[in-house]
C-alpha cells in the first residue's frame, strides 16, 4: 500500500514537471495557456480570483448606473444607459464563463460574492448622486477600466484574453458616451456645468485608485507580470490614464481636482498629487459610503429570485424526462 502511494506520487510529480516545463515554455514564447493545459495551482488560483473579481465588479457596477435609468432626462439617454448597463451584465457573463474554464462553477463564484468572501472594484462603493455621475462614471471609471483592460487582451490565459477583446470594444463605447454626457452638460446651462464639475471632482481620485495601490505596496503584481497576465505595473497604468484624461478634461472645459497636476517636460508625463490611500484601504475593508447597500441589493435580488430559479430547474428536469422516456433502473442489479 505504502509502495503504491509512493509510485503514484512519483508519476504525478513527473507529470507536474512535464506540465511545468510546457507551461514555462508557453509563457516564455508569449503564447497562450488554454483550459486543458497543465498550469501551476497558484496560477489557476490567482486567475480564478482575478477573473471572478472582475466579473463581480461588472455585476455590482450595474447598480450605480441602474440607479439613474428611471430618471434619465431624455428618452435617448435612457435608451443608451439601458443598453450600457445591459452590456455590463453581458461582460459579467463572459467573465464568469472564462472563470469557469478554470474549474470553479458560476454559482460557487456567486456565493463567494454574496458571502462577502470575494471583492469587487471599490469604485462602485461610491454613490451615483446626479445625472452627471453617469458621465463621470463613463468617462473616468470606464476610461480607467479600458487602460487596465486593453493590455489584458494579451493576458496569457486564453479565455480571459479573448473575453477582454470583446469587453474592451464595448467599454470604449461606454467611455465615449460618458464623455459625451459631460460634454453636453459642460456646454449647457451653468447649473449643468456645475453638475458635471461636481461629478468629476468626486470621481477623479477614486478612478485613479482603480489601478490599485502604488507599485511598492502591490506584492502580487510582480508574480502576475511574470505570468504575463498583467503587462504593466499599477503606477505605469495610472500614469498612462492621467496623461490621457488631462487633454480630454481641457476639451470638456472642466478641471481636475488636483492642484499638483502639471506637465513635466523632463519626464514627458503629467505629474500628479498623492492620492488618499487611507480612504482607499478603508473602502476596500467595507467602509465606503455604499458597501452595505450594494451588497444588500445583490443579496436581495438573489434571494428574491430563488423561487424562479428553482421553478426553471424543475421545469427543465420535467422537460428532459418527457423528451427522454424514463429508463428502468434495476437497483442493486
Amino acid at each position: 500500500m505504502a509502495e503504491n502511494t509512493t509510485t503514484l506520487a512519483a508519476v504525478a510529480s513527473e507529470e507536474d514537471a512535464a506540465g511545468q516545463e510546457n507551461f514555462d515554455r508557453l509563457i516564455a514564447e508569449d503564447s497562450r495557456i488554454e483550459p486543458r493545459d497543465w498550469m501551476p495551482p497558484a496560477y489557476r488560483k490567482s486567475l480564478t480570483r482575478q477573473v471572478s473579481q472582475h466579473a463581480h465588479s461588472e455585476i455590482i457596477g450595474m447598480q450605480p448606473e441602474a440607479n439613474w435609468i428611471t430618471r434619465a432626462p431624455s428618452l435617448k439617454r435612457k435608451a443608451i444607459l439601458m443598453a450600457k448597463v445591459q452590456d455590463e451584465a453581458g461582460h459579467g457573463l463572459y467573465l464568469y464563463s472564462a472563470a469557469e474554464t478554470l474549474g470553479t462553477p458560476r454559482d460557487v463564484l456567486n456565493d463567494q460574492l454574496l458571502q462577502g468572501k470575494a471583492k469587487y472594484s471599490s469604485i462602485f462603493n461610491y454613490p451615483a448622486r446626479t445625472w452627471a455621475d453617469m458621465g463621470a462614471i463613463g468617462w473616468l471609471v470606464d476610461g480607467a477600466a479600458i487602460c487596465n483592460q486593453v493590455p489584458l487582451c494579451r493576458a496569457s490565459y486564453g479565455p480571459y484574453g479573448r473575453a477582454m477583446v470583446r469587453i474592451c470594444k464595448e467599454e470604449s463605447f461606454h467611455q465615449r458616451q460618458g464623455w459625451e454626457i459631460l460634454y453636453s452638460l459642460s456646454h449647457g446651462t451653468p447649473e449643468q456645468k456645475q453638475m458635471a464639475q461636481d461629478a468629476v471632482n468626486r470621481f477623479y481620485g477614486p478612478a485613479l485608485q482603480m489601478f490599485g495601490p502604488p507599485d511598492e505596496d502591490s506584492p502580487n503584481s510582480k508574480q502576475s507580470m511574470a505570468w504575463k497576465v498583467k503587462r504593466f505595473s499599477n503606477d505605469e497604468l495610472r500614469q498612462r490614464f492621467v496623461d490621457m484624461i488631462v487633454p480630454q478634461a481641457e476639451a470638456l472645459g472642466l478641471t481636475l481636482p488636483d492642484p499638483d497636476l502639471k506637465w513635466n517636460e523632463e519626464r514627458g508625463h503629467y505629474d500628479f498629487g498623492e492620492l488618499d490611500w487611507d480612504e482607499f484601504m478603508s473602502v476596500i475593508k467595507g467602509g465606503g459610503p455604499m458597501n452595505v447597500q450594494r451588497m444588500a441589493r445583490r443579496v436581495q435580488a438573489h434571494e428574491d429570485g430563488a423561487w424562479v430559479r428553482e421553478a426553471a430547474a424543475a421545469y427543465a428536469r420535467r422537460q428532459a424526462e418527457q423528451n427522454q422516456p424514463a429508463k428502468t433502473q434495476l437497483i442493486g442489479a
Partner: protein, 277 residues
C-alpha cells in the same frame, strides 16, 4: 421618405432600421387625430419600458437582467417612434411629450402602469401586453399612414421576441414548482381586470380605424384572448374570470400608479425644463 420593410430586426443594420431622428426629419406631419392615436400607443410602450427597466440589476438571473432590459429598451424605442411622430402635429419633441406632460395628459392603459410586483406578476403583464401588441402591430403594418405602418413593422419584429419570452416563462412558472404556479396564477389574476382597457374603442381611434389608419381596439379582443387563454391553459393554470375594472378611457382618472411613475421619470427634466441633455 420610405422605410425599409423586409429585413428582420436582428439582421437590420443601423442604417436601414428606422430611427426616431429619421421620423423627425422625414417631414411627414401627423394630423391632430393621428397624433392623439400615436400618443396612446407611445404612452403604453413608454410606461411599460419604464416599469420593466427597474428589473435591470434586480432580476432572478443575469440572463434575465439582460432579457428584461432588452425588452424595456425595445419598448422605449417604440415610445420614441410614436411620440416623435405625434410631436410633429404640435411642434413638440419626443422629450417634451414624455417629460413635460402632466398626469391627465397621458393616455397609457393601467395594465402597463401597474407595479412590477414579483417576477411572476411582471411575466403576467408581459404575457398580456406582448400578445396584445403582437395582434395590434400585425394589423397596424397595413395602416394607410406610412409612418405608423413603418413603426409597426419595426416593432412587430421585436414584439415576436417579447411574446416568446413571456410564453416560455409562463410555462416554466406554471409547470415548475408549487410555489411558482401559485405565484404565476396570482400574477395573472391580479392584472386580469386591466386587460379589458386595451380593447376599448375611444372615439378618435374608432374614427381613424374607419379610415384604415388605426386598428380598432375591440377587433383585437377575440384573437388576443383566444391565444392568451390557450397559453395559460397549456401552462396548467386557470384563466381568470374576474370582471374588468371600471374606467376604460385611459384618461388617468382611475389610476393611482401614473403619478408615481411620472414623479420619478420626469424629476430631472422638469427641474431644468430648458436644458439640453
Amino acid at each position: 421618405m420610405s422605410f425599409a420593410t423586409n429585413d428582420s430586426a436582428t439582421k437590420q443594420s443601423a442604417g436601414v432600421a428606422i430611427t426616431a431622428e429619421e421620423i423627425a426629419e422625414s417631414g411627414s406631419t401627423a394630423s391632430e387625430a393621428v397624433a392623439n392615436y400615436a400618443v396612446q400607443l407611445g404612452d403604453d410602450a413608454l410606461m411599460l419600458g419604464q416599469r420593466l427597466s427597474w428589473w435591470i440589476s434586480r432580476a432572478p438571473e443575469l440572463e434575465e437582467d439582460i432579457a428584461l432590459g432588452n425588452i424595456a429598451l425595445d419598448l422605449v424605442g417604440h415610445a420614441r417612434f410614436f411620440l416623435t411622430y405625434a410631436g410633429t402635429a404640435w411642434g413638440k419633441t419626443e422629450d417634451q411629450l414624455a417629460y413635460l406632460r402632466d398626469e391627465e395628459e397621458f393616455r397609457s392603459a393601467r395594465l402597463v402602469e401597474a407595479e412590477n410586483g414579483d417576477f411572476a406578476k411582471t411575466i403576467a403583464r408581459q404575457l398580456y401586453y406582448s400578445f396584445y401588441s403582437y395582434e395590434l402591430y400585425t394589423r397596424l403594418v397595413d395602416s394607410k399612414d406610412e409612418t405608423l405602418s413603418a413603426i409597426a413593422n419595426k416593432a412587430l419584429k421585436e414584439v415576436l421576441y417579447h411574446q416568446d419570452h413571456a410564453a416560455v416563462w409562463l410555462n416554466r412558472l406554471g409547470l415548475g414548482t408549487e410555489e411558482s404556479a401559485r405565484r404565476m396564477q396570482a400574477g395573472l389574476d391580479e392584472l386580469w381586470p386591466y386587460v379589458g382597457e386595451l380593447f376599448y374603442d375611444d372615439e378618435n381611434t374608432a374614427e381613424l380605424a374607419g379610415q384604415g389608419i388605426a386598428v380598432l381596439p375591440s377587433s383585437l379582443e377575440e384573437p388576443t384572448l383566444e391565444r392568451i387563454t390557450r397559453a395559460i391553459t397549456e401552462a396548467g393554470l386557470e384563466v381568470p374570470t374576474s370582471p374588468t375594472a371600471r374606467g376604460l378611457d385611459r384618461s388617468g382618472a382611475t389610476s393611482e400608479w401614473r403619478g408615481y411613475i411620472l414623479a420619478e421619470m420626469q424629476v430631472l427634466a422638469r427641474r431644468y425644463p430648458e436644458a439640453q441633455w
